[in-house]
Amino acid sequence: MIPVTLNIRTYHEIENAGSDLGDQVAAQQTRVEARLALVHDVVGIMSGKGGVGKSLLTAALATLAARRGRRVGVLDADLNGPSMGRMLGCPRGPLAERPDGIDPASTPCGALVMSMDLLLDADMALHWKEPDGAAFVWRGVQERGAVREFLADVGWGELDLLLVDLPPGVGRLAELHELVPELSGVLAVTIPSAASRDAVARSLELAARRRIPLLGLVENLRGYRCDGCGDVGALFGGDAAERLARRFDVPVLGGLPFDPTLDRAAAYGELDAWLSAGGPTAIELGRIGEALDAALGAGRSAGEVASR
């Protein structure tokens, strides 16, 4: 057999784009940018450590903002431990699907919410369809894709503020920043303990390295407010917020005690009514909300959003 030398053109010599996988990925990012063009501020709420009350603070800040007449959305990026739908009292009915996006759920006070807990069967964990034995390979990619779709495919409309509740750890913050390079900033939640301080420091370090604005720190579980007399007693030792504030040059926006009435209100989606009652913890939360507004330079008109 006579060997034949084929003269085959190379990939780049063919002008047609083929599958355009790169362009398809770029188009996904364009969809995120188009959707967020009407959102004034996107703020990540992070901790680095689980169980510090980050989601509860997110829900409370969203409720406060909505009560002040701001158009606010909450994106629950904690896909494996979603809680925003329940905490914010969203109905579990089907979400309306339109050609240009999925309608977010709405809280009784008008905040918009998208959370995996609105999409999953009750008490079901998030499971992905994956080839057997290879889930670990793809889970991260699929979760990043889900967060992207929460940003790009939800009919958020014009918002003054979109709060993103980030899961513990630092990975999702990096993903969020890649999807939203113009992130307005992050709010970090810690508890007073040294263990929390170290975990939150890693998150703040990542944010600082990426030049994401550090809007402030909130120290949660700063004591325990008695359900009966209202006095605040000691709970954890430590001064995590102060130390982190000094190290990262970030303001402490406030501190909150563990308040059983707040915990119950969040568990039953009744934060709006709880804030209306106006107890001392609600007042402190209000101060934190105002401090966050100040850090964001709030007060800009909605018209600026549309003209951005």
């Binding site: 063919i14 083929g18 309306a96 699907e97 240009d100 999953l120 889900a146």
Partner: protein, 149 residues
């Protein structure tokens, strides 16, 4: 990824995508010159790679649907998580008033005229009547027991 028909030196065009349901994928390409077809077969891992990225081998032929990745990828999702939006109820068909009926309605005391007008309109709609005439008003008064109106 591009497929070249070596004999024709033509780039093959994407023809169709088949998903047999066993985690694999077949993408068929055709040479525009000679019509020869070739199929690219991916194993489950390779299929998962493109699925996870939310991209389509051969390019997108239709725009991506909202939550495409979540809906195709999540195994524990609620069956009723999404629904068509509830459209506002269609406006009721307009009911016309004849000149005689308008004149007669004018004799009704003004403070109840609006209510009476509404009753006649609802009666007409309930009975598929497009125009209210004095005869319709009489019938409504009889049927509804409103002889005093």
């Amino acid at each position: 990824m591009k497929f070249l028909c070596v004999e024709c030196d033509e780039q093959m065009h994407f023809e169709e995508r088949r998903i047999p349901g066993d985690g694999t994928l077949a993408a068929v390409f055709r040479c525009p010159a000679c019509g020869r077809m070739t199929a690219m077969l991916t194993n489950p891992m390779e299929t998962q790679l493109v699925t996870s990225l939310g991209v389509k081998v051969g390019g997108r032929t239709v725009p991506g649907a909202p939550f495409e990745g979540i809906r195709t990828g999540v195994a524990s999702g609620r069956e009723d998580a999404f629904a068509a939006p509830k459209e506002p109820a269609s406006p009721p068909a307009p009911v016309r008033w004849s000149v005689d009926a308008v004149e007669r309605l004018g004799h009704v005391p003004s403070f109840v005229r609006g209510m009476v007008k509404k009753i006649y309109i609802e009666y007409a709609r309930d009975h598929g009547i497009g125009e209210i005439t004095p005869a319709v008003m009489d019938r409504a008064r009889t049927d509804l027991g409103l002889e005093g109106m």
